[in-house]
Subunit: 362 residues, 2 copies
């Protein structure tokens, strides 16, 4: 690596466009992060195309500002994004993102990259390995030769996302409903969920209703149950993900079998998702991300306890464990993919440069 | 009982207003059904107030026509309906139903009755007992002294309805997704569900998409999985209930552990819902209804195997089973409640008259 930028130095933009926030980084061709930007939701499906485009533009403008570079110097742009099921979809999205970035001066071609591939390359420069994410949703990928070879789950809240924040939050809400309803065991999750509810929707309801409720709803427990019903059905289902942390809190506090069971099950279903993409012949690191796996060592431990046994393959009885790398998001990987799109080989040296220099900027 | 109508004969209207169809019956004060009518959805929440009012009016007009009676002779009207959580709600709904029925000449006061109480009285005239329903939703009630004393579940698809048609249909869809995704076992439900899908949404998709799909979606299995995702998320979640019969079909055919597990679990969670309302001190029949319990002897058997053991109470080791009465809907009960609202005592003789005479009309 050299500081002489005069001969081969080019500049590259990596964007991690998430449902909650968007992150952008401008790098040189050695992998040095020169500028970083962050803005709101960049997912056109969840935030709408206008908001998503504005987020991408804002994060990019910040990153260029930080690098003190004009957008015109950018030669490749990679955008990591969930969704997109066909090449034609991606081409359409890429064209619209290119349009959205024009005010920043960036005119380079845009490639759309799978968010799980960017997550994977946020943890390792190795061409072969696995990634598992459990945030609001959940999915696993097998990466071979730097490309996604197999995907498991990521099927959304109704059909899949087993072990995701939504899955856990839904289990919490159902366990509380069953407790209040007399069908399920008593759990500490009940007072915790009722305390965590949006106070605006429930304050003063019980006194107002108590004079008119039917006699089968007259007990305190039934009042709380009918409040829970009103309140949960006023949410979009995926918003139940916000209550996932209650399960971890109650499980950590101990003595709550219901919460412990939910956390344990989440780990096991995530391990099953990972196991479904594992190929005995493909060795490599496991990169994990998403709030459930980043913040909850309990779930991560179950996955790494259960997962590697499968990762080693049926004929391999060595007790070694594959390294598990925890990453906060997919920004490093978006940067890696942007460099790769420029034909730059991202070896361990370049990868470490990206990781270290980006770490200093944010 | 006498055929002399001149002295005390009055006339009564019972309506069972369901989400799919509405049924009405006109009776005399001996419980003789004189006219029957049937129309579309009478539930203002699912069908909207205008459609629901029109359904109630149409079914009532048909029943009056069949009885060759003017609406003005009706002295009491009972409407069995899901929902309604407070007396004030019921008064509002009752007033609007009364307005809807005015064109039929019916001017009598309207009472709103819980659909589960009407279901219960469709199976028995006894004042104490239990009812369990599993249709699109699922719930149980304990009836004491002719009134609902306790309710369990009926909390809707997201929080409860364990063992309902939605619950079973969702398990079917998730099992098929897990099978196609390589996370779950192979099941006969997969070809069955794919064959049962709406052909209009999927015909010709695979050939059209095959030229542009990414390489990880290039296998036949992945194509079917992405079709399933598109198709299921285009439904309202409760519409998954339409696929519940596939679980029963596959379980009956044998050798499908996945389908057998779903059916078995449905029976057990319904038994738990029933157990939650059982009071050891309250004896009486168990009335069951809803498509899952009416059509699926397998589920009914699990409920009656598991349920009565709990029904007998902890101190009662006799092997006797409480009678299980299967009813097609809540119309007989709506009629019973309309008679009761007129002060008419509905004993076994009157009850049998209602059941027999209504059976001859429809």
């Amino acid at each position: 690596m050299s500081d002489d930028k005069s001969i081969t130095m080019t500049h590259h933009l990596g964007i991690d466009a998430g449902g909650t926030s968007t992150r952008a980084v401008v790098l040189d061709s050695h992998g040095r992060a020169l500028g970083y930007g962050r803005s709101g939701s960049g997912n056109p499906i969840s935030a709408g195309p206008v908001v998503a485009a504005a987020s991408l533009r804002a994060a990019t403008a910040q990153a260029l500002d930080g690098a003190a570079l004009a957008g015109s110097v950018i030669s490749t742009t990679a955008v990591a994004m969930a969704g997109g099921s066909s090449v034609t979809d991606d081409l359409t999205v890429a064209a619209s993102i290119r349009g959205a970035l024009l005010p920043t001066g960036v005119t380079a071609a845009v490639t759309i990259e799978k968010d799980l591939l960017a997550l994977y390359f946020s943890g390792t420069p190795e061409a072969d390995g696995y990634a598992l994410v459990a945030g609001t949703g959940a999915a696993a990928v097998r990466v071979r030769g730097g490309e996604v070879e197999a995907v498991c789950d990521g099927l959304g809240w109704l059909l899949g996302d087993d072990g995701s924040g939504f899955w856990i939050g839904r289990e919490v809400a159902r366990a509380v409903a069953a407790d209040l309803d007399g069908r399920g065991p008593t759990t500490a999750l009940t007072p915790m969920l009722l305390a965590a509810r949006n106070p605006g929707l429930t304050t003063g309801r019980a006194p107002t209703s108590s004079s008119v409720v039917r006699h089968e709803l007259s007990s305190e427990r039934d009042l709380r149950l009918s409040e829970l019903v009103r309140w949960v059905y006023a949410l979009r289902p995926v918003q139940l993900a916000q209550y996932a942390p209650l399960a971890f809190e109650a499980a950590r506090a101990g003595h709550d079998a219901v919460a412990e069971h939910i956390v344990n099950q989440a780990g096991h279903v995530l391990a099953a998702t990972l196991a479904a993409v594992v190929s005995p012949g493909l060795d490599g690191p496991l990169v994990v991300g998403g709030s459930v796996l980043v913040n909850q060592a309990a779930v991560r431990d179950i996955v790494s306890d259960v997962g590697p046994a499968r990762l080693d393959g049926p004929g391999d009885h060595r007790a070694h464990r594959r390294p598990v790398v925890v990453v906060p998001d997919g920004l490093v990987g978006a940067a890696v993919l942007s460099l790769r799109n420029a034909g730059i080989r991202v070896d361990k040296t370049v990868f470490d440069t990206v990781t270290r220099s980006l770490g200093q900027l944010r």
